[in-house]
Structures are given as C-alpha cells and as structure tokens.
C-alpha cells in the first residue's frame, strides 16, 4: 500500500455529537484503566482510536455498551451520554446493547448455523417472522461482504468458517440489530490483509448509515479510514483531532507524533 486512500472527506464530522463522554474514570479494583477522559463522537464519522496495549481502548468500548458491568469489581465515574441520555439511566440495558454493534478482536462464530448466528440478536429482541429474519440475515451478510461465499450453506456451522469469514460473520451479527454505533476492537488482528481491505471497504459504505468507533493497532488503518483519530496512552486521552492533523508533521503532542511514526519510547 503505497498510495494512501483519500477517504478522509469531511462527511460526518462537526455535526451533532452522538456520544458525549465527560470525565470518564474507570478502575479495575485498584488499578486505573481510564483516568478521566472527555470527548465527543459525531454522527456518521469514523473515529479511529489508537494507542498501545493497556491504554484503555477496549475498556472504553465496554463502558459504552455497559458490558463492563459484567466484570466484577469495576468502578466507573463520570458520564457517557448516548443521544443526550446518560447510558447509566437507561433501564433496558439489553436494548442499549442492541443500539451498539460490537466486534471483538478474535472472531467468535457462535456454535450455531450461519443463519442462526446472524438471526440470534433479532430473535432475542423478539422477531419471530421467518420472512423478516430471512431479510435481515441476507442484508447483514451482504453488508459484511460474506453473502456470496455462504449463501448456499446458511445452515452449516458458523464455527466451521475460516477465521476471516468468521470475523465477517461477527460483523454481520453486529449489524443484525441495526445499531446506531458500530464498535470494532482490533477487528483485523486475526484476519488476512486481503480480507482486512474488504472489511475496510465495507466500513466506508457503512459510515453513511452509522457512526463507527474503530479501535486499531494498525495506525495505518486509522489513517486510511478515520475522519478523526484519538490517541490513548496509559488510560489518558493524549490527543483527538482530525486524522490529517494526527498524522501530520505537527500534531499537538510529541507522543502522538512518536507513536504514529513508530518511534515511540
């Protein structure tokens, strides 16, 4: 990849914030994971989140869909607002989680058929009509660029797909409940470069329909896809700005420059 793709257009950014995070502090027991971070995420942007391990990126995603609550002994302070509503005041936490699609680093095909994998979330939400489920399954598999490969064997097991296919299945599943926000946590870690590029193309089209939070270890991936990029380090938000600025010769923080140019530490 020599020519960086020009996708960092201005669509999205600078309109209404969908997620407003203010002074968010998270601790696991006594060890801090996030030390009071504040930023907004705008409608229909791709926000790249970069930073080394242990910098709190995954924790941030878990706070947003409130799955952090399932980990014992965690403390969360500060507030996260989704469409202006503090997520901790949302009574229906399962409904909240369905508004957010989550893709984890390692692909997880549930031990169900491909069809049932994608139909899982709609079914838990109470959709029973076969025609409706068929429609959702096809749409999501299409969106995740997997439909053509699996359309003839929807009843075979999701766990038997290859790693790259399973990751696209995971993405299809995350789209199945029509989320407003799609969070991807280092989705390309177990995926070959070709599949990664295909998924990246998928994300660019999805951007018109939803807001995307892209946690990534590949800084070039953020550069290729993100409208804005946030740099996290040891639980602090060091810098958040348009991707052009972050990857320019003069981001406002020297650590950011060192990290994106690989001269960190």
């Amino acid at each position: 990849m020599t020519t960086p793709m020009q996708t960092n257009s201005d669509n999205g950014s600078q309109n209404t914030p969908v997620i407003e995070i203010s002074d968010l502090k998270v601790r696991y027991g006594d060890s801090p994971a996030l030390n009071g971070i504040s930023f907004d995420v705008y409608q229909n942007e791709i926000l790249g989140i970069i930073g080394p391990a242990q910098s709190g990126k995954t924790t941030l995603l878990k706070v947003i869909n409130r799955t952090l609550e399932l980990t014992p002994d965690t403390t969360v302070e500060g507030s996260v607002k989704l469409d202006g509503v503090d997520i901790r005041t949302i009574g229906d936490v399962y409904g909240l989680r369905r508004r957010i699609g989550m893709v984890l680093p390692l692909p997880v095909g549930l031990p169900l058929s491909i069809y049932d994998n994608v139909a899982f979330a709609p079914r838990t939400a109470g959709i029973r009509a076969k025609s409706e489920l068929d429609e959702i399954v096809e749409r999501c598999l299409q969106q995740a660029a997997l439909w053509d490969e699996v359309k003839d064997r929807l009843d075979s097991l999701g766990t038997k797909l290859s790693g790259g296919q399973q990751q696209r299945l995971t993405i299809a599943r995350a789209l199945s409940h029509q989320p407003e926000i799609l969070c991807l946590d280092e989705f390309s870690i177990a995926v070959d470069p070709v599949t990664t590029m295909r998924i990246e193309e998928v994300l660019k089209t999805l951007q018109t329909e939803m807001t995307i939070l892209l946690v990534t270890n590949l800084v070039q991936q953020a550069k290729r896809l993100a409208n804005r990029t946030a740099f996290f380090l040891n639980g602090d938000l060091i810098e958040i700005d348009t991707t052009d600025v972050i990857f320019s010769e003069n981001p406002s923080n020297q650590a950011t420059y060192d990290y994106v140019n690989g001269t960190f530490g």
Binding site: Y94, G95, R97, R98, L104, P111, F120, T124, L157, A174
Partner: protein, 305 residues
C-alpha cells in the same frame, strides 16, 4: 548464505546422539504408560470374569424376576433389584435438578464473593465426606426430624445429599468448558444471561452435564452405608414382576445391602447366588454407564466448535 549451512543435506538427517537418546526416552515413556494402563484394566477384567464364571450356574431370567427364598439361601433378586432401581431413580430425581440448577447459578450468575467462595468450598468438601457420615445425617434429618421413618424416601434423600455435591462439581466443569467468548458475544448482542444460557451454554454443555449425572447412578446404586439405616431392609417379599410393587413411604431391599447380608449374615447360601447378585449390580451399573457413553457420543457429534 552461510557456507556451513549449505554443508550437506545428508549430515542434517543422520541421527545425532541426542536424537537417539530422545527416541529411547520417547519409546520408554510410551511403554511405561501402556503398562500402567494395562495394570488398571487387568484387575477389572479379572474381577468381572471371575464373578461371571462363578455366577454362571444361577444366572437366568428367573433369577432376576423372582424373590429370594429359603431364608435368602436361594431364589432370585427381584425385591432387591427393584429396590435399588427405586432408590437410584428417586434420589436422582431430587439431586439432578437441584445440583444442575445450583451449578448453573454458581457458574453463570453468582459473582465472586465470600458467599460463593464458601459455597464452592462446601461443595468440594461435601464431595469428600464418607458415606457413613451421610448415613448418620440421613437418620437424623430425614428418618427422625422430618418424620419420614425408615423408608425409600428417606434413603433416597440421603443418597441425594451424597450425590449432590458431585453433580454440582461435574456440571460446573461442563459449563466451564463452554468458552467465555461465546457468552461475551451473546451479551454484546443484547442477550440476557438467561437467553445466553438457554441458547448457547446449555446446548453446548448438556453432554457433560448428563454424563456427570448418570455417573452418579453407579455411586447411588453401589453404596450400602447411607441406606442401611435409612430405608433398606434385610428381607421383604414383594409382588414379582410388578414394577410398582414398592411404596416410597415404605422400606425396600437393595442389591448392595442384599449382597452384604447373603455373603456375611446368612449361612449355607447356594454358591452362585452372591456372585449372581454382584454380577447384576455391576452389570446394571455398567449398562447405565454404557448408555451414558452412547448418549455422550451422540451429543458430541452435535457439538459445534
């Protein structure tokens, strides 16, 4: 490239001293483990073979379906055989649901705190309590305190208390074998814990759960101590061939106790009868275990990862 590396392909594949040693150790260890396995299997085969040989003269359909006669010196096994079935079935009807659901709670819902730690500790320790202690507990709790008297019910409940911790432990193992990532994926999709358990966790652990439960059949069938003070009786004649010949508020005979009595308490027993009793006891247990294996294989083929 380094010239040494290119040297000659032949020398790369000739066996070195270390390689030879490794091969010897490898073969030696394999034979050692094989011998140990044989040492385990051999006595088992000898016991069953010997029992079978000694029991051969008395084994017949009649042996299984007639009551003991002549003061238990001869006759069949119907009363103790049916009694054991009653005890095992009633005890598992109590312990299996409680044990499985308790394990689901402990593994899927409970948070790590002093209460769950204490519960897990209790489960582990209860599993190691000698059966005679369970017997005394059963006498105190079920026969006397609950007023059940010496009955199938009291004996079964005592057996249930004995098998419960092991069922909890084996179910917990089966549930833990389902990868955590499956649960996380479900939660991320907005599934409740119960939806996750019902759709993903239980279907993928059911073979292990059932195997754990069925293996307790052999323990419940084989134990003598917990039932001899709580509901099993020395001798009781019942209607032959009638599956409902026992009432669970009354006492019953049991194979394990029967074997003990005719081997030690009754003089001049027909020679084959104790061996026949042992064969029926071992045979029914093996049959149930075989059923468990078949079930496990069947459910395994449906396992999905």
């Amino acid at each position: 490239m380094n010239t040494d590396m290119q040297a000659s392909p032949q020398t790369m594949f000739t066996e070195t001293e270390i390689g030879k040693q490794k091969r010897w150790i490898e073969n030696g260890m394999r034979i050692f483990f094989l011998v140990m396995t044989s040492l385990m299997i051999l006595p088992l085969l000898l016991i069953i073979g010997y029992l079978f040989y000694k029991a051969l003269p008395v084994l017949s359909f009649e042996f299984l379906f007639t009551n003991p006669k002549d003061n238990m010196r001869a006759g069949g096994l119907w009363a103790p055989f049916l009694g054991t079935i009653y005890l095992v079935v009633v005890s598992l009807l109590v312990s299996a649901p409680i044990g499985v659901f308790a394990a689901v709670y402990l593994n899927e819902y409970a948070r790590e705190n002093w209460f769950t730690r204490l519960t897990n500790l209790a489960v582990v320790n209860l599993a190691g309590v000698p059966s005679i202690v369970h017997a005394l507990f059963g006498v105190g709790a079920f026969v006397l305190f609950a007023g059940l008297g010496e009955s199938i019910l009291a004996a079964s409940l005592t057996l249930a208390i004995m098998t419960l911790p092991v069922i909890i432990a084996s179910t917990t193992e089966a549930l833990k074998a389902v990868p955590m990532s499956f649960r996380e994926a479900c939660w991320n999709l907005g599934a409740t814990r119960w939806q996750t358990i019902r759709r993903i966790v239980i279907p993928n652990s059911i073979s292990g759960i059932l195997t754990g439960v069925i293996l307790q059949v052999s323990r419940a069938a084989g134990e003598t101590a917990p039932i001899m003070f709580t509901g099993a009786v020395f001798y009781k004649a019942i209607a032959e061939g009638n599956l409902f010949a026992y009432n669970i508020t009354e006492q019953c005979m049991a194979l394990s106790l029967h074997l003990f009595t005719i081997s030690t308490q009754v003089p001049d027993v027909t020679e084959g009868v104790p061996y026949g009793t042992a064969i029926v006891l071992v045979g029914s247990v093996l049959l149930v275990n075989a059923a468990a294996i078949v079930l496990r294989v069947y459910l395994r083929t449906r396992k999905k990862w």
